[in-house]
């Protein structure tokens, strides 16, 4: 990320939201809301004194998946780029109650600006790569058999990830959220919400098998006498060197049991887990100290809004639809808009990087020429016949038709329809509206389609 931020040709805009998009490939006019940071980034050096001094230290940290705390002026996470803080206006006492202001008093650069407002930035872009990522499926709503989220030591894989991270809430120690003790027996359950037609999602989330293998490995590595028990339905390791990694975890001592867990409940300070070892054909019970759920990936919560802005279609699960499942995996139906990563469907990091690289290459190809080659299948105007009624102008969904004035010897100055070849998407709606029959769609002319009807009805 920091390499991206340093790059002379990259303008990194963080803490921003796209509000409006108009235009078309090569000419997207985008309105971006730069949310108020209340910190002047030109002055701020990111020294962090403000964060240390902020008295409001008990705010739930989003980045730590609710397991850690942060201050009201905070950096979203340790290696954030740029590594400078923002103020959370909902929790800052200065902004909510006009009291405090300790950060401003302590800032050596006078970078705190409580008067900061959201800014609207308007700019023109040639292409767009959408990479809005994923959220984790909210298992707490539907998985009552795992406790509807009421047991603090039943956590998600992402929460476990924060626990083992050196900059996480426990400094990298695996500790139970309930009592801060080190768990000895950790149960992992895969496919929570994935491959679950009734309560969750039909699809496989693809990344869970590998990260669960990693987590099991970390339990065995970091906890003395630790036990990792993994309940799985299938172990799916199709990537390069993936199966080898899974086998390594098994050799290190992780117990893999084939079967879905039916129930988790708390009794005393143990979590009782009921499953089946379907290879043995016997019910199994584990008294666990912690349970980690590999929950399904779902499209990011505001992907619907983003999709609407860019005219993207989605599949039945809400993932952005690529233009063709085999032949156009990073393109969309909107020219100049490309997809990268999990916004298109669940995938792991190497696949995300590969797809993002492909999207970047597609953009580079697009930008490498001075003129764009577009589809020739667009509307043509027979100016001799056009009456200039303008019906097509209002009907065109792409605003590709204007009236222009021409002059000919027979009829003098008059108005006729003119099609912008960059904007016209070749839908042909105008051809149906044109009463004079002056518009026709190249490649799909009235004559051609009627000939097809003729041929098919033989």
């Amino acid at each position: 990320m920091s390499a991206v931020a340093q790059h002379p040709n990259v303008n990194l805009m963080t803490y921003c939201e796209v509000e409006e998009v108009s235009g078309y490939i090569g000419n997207f006019d985008v309105k971006i809301r730069q949310k108020a940071k209340y910190v002047n980034y030109d002055l701020c050096t990111g020294c962090g004194v403000c964060i240390e001094k902020c008295p409001n230290k008990r705010i739930t940290s989003e980045f730590d998946e609710g397991m850690g705390k942060r201050t009201a002026i905070y950096k979203p996470f340790a290696q954030a780029v740029p590594n400078k803080p923002i103020i959370d206006p909902e929790h800052c006492r200065k902004l909510t109650k006009d009291r405090c202001g300790i950060c401003a008093k302590n800032c050596p650069r006078e970078a705190i600006d409580f008067e900061d407002k959201d800014k609207i930035i308007e700019d023109r872009f040639g292409a767009v790569v959408v990479g809005t990522g994923f959220d984790l499926w909210d298992w707490k709503e539907s998985y009552g058999e795992y406790g509807y989220g009421k047991y603090p030591d039943v956590i998600t894989g992402l929460q476990f990830e924060r626990l083992v991270n050196a900059s996480g809430p426990t400094g990298g120690k695996i500790l139970r959220p309930s009592d801060g003790k080190e768990p000895k027996t950790v149960v992992f359950i895969k496919c929570v919400g994935s491959r679950d037609d009734t309560k969750g999602k039909k699809y496989c989330s693809r990344a869970c098998c590998m990260y669960t293998a990693k987590h099991a490995h970390q339990v065995l590595e970091k906890i003395e006498d630790g036990q990792a028990i993994v309940f799985y339905m299938d172990v799916r390791t199709p990537g390069k060197a993936y199966d080898e990694f899974y086998q390594r975890t098994v050799h290190e001592g992780a117990q893999y049991l084939r079967g879905r867990v039916s129930r988790i409940f708390q009794l005393g300070d143990k979590l009782v887990v009921y499953g089946e070892d379907s290879l043995l054909g016997r019910q199994v019970k584990v008294n666990a100290d912690m349970v980690v759920l590999a929950t399904a990936m779902v499209p990011s919560h505001d992907s619907g809004r983003v999709g609407q802005l860019f005219g993207l279609s989605t599949d039945s699960d809400g993932w952005f639809q690529e233009a063709h499942p085999k032949l156009k995996p990073v393109e969309t139906f909107t020219g100049g808009v490309f997809l990268a990563g999990t916004c298109q469907g669940p995938k792991d990091i190497p696949d995300t990087v590969a797809q993002a690289s492909a999207a970047a290459a597609k953009v580079a190809v697009l930008f490498s020429r001075d003129e764009m080659a577009t589809s020739p299948l667009i509307t043509g105007v027979n100016e001799q016949v056009c009456s200039g009624c303008g019906l097509c102008v209002s009907i065109c969904p792409y605003k590709a038709i204007e009236l222009k004035t021409i002059e000919d010897r027979a009829r003098g100055k008059r108005q006729v329809a003119a099609v912008n070849s960059g904007l016209c998407q070749g839908c042909g709606a105008c051809t149906v509206a044109c009463r004079a029959g002056a518009l026709d769609l190249k490649g799909f002319t009235n004559e051609q389609i009627l000939a097809e009807v003729d041929a098919l009805c033989l």
Binding site: S313, P325, L377, C427, G428, L441
Partner: protein, 65 residues
């Protein structure tokens, strides 16, 4: 369905036709009575195409988009 019926289906390139294409990718079958005409958009379908199909003996016309 009898194979003697003729149904002309006008399919939008982006959805119905893409769906038919995907059905092909997934090795799904549809009856040979359906004869597909790809159009760039269902908005491209002029009522005269439909009349023409009936005139030429189609038993049904499907506009899908």
């Amino acid at each position: 369905m009898s194979v003697n019926t003729k149904i002309v289906a006008f399919c939008c390139n982006w959805c119905a036709y893409a769906g038919a294409d995907l059905a092909g990718l997934n090795r799904m079958q549809y009856p040979p009575d359906v004869r597909i005409i790809r159009v760039p958009c269902s908005g491209r379908i002029n009522p005269q195409f439909v009349f023409k199909a009936f005139q030429k003996g189609a038993d049904g016309v499907l506009v899908a988009g």
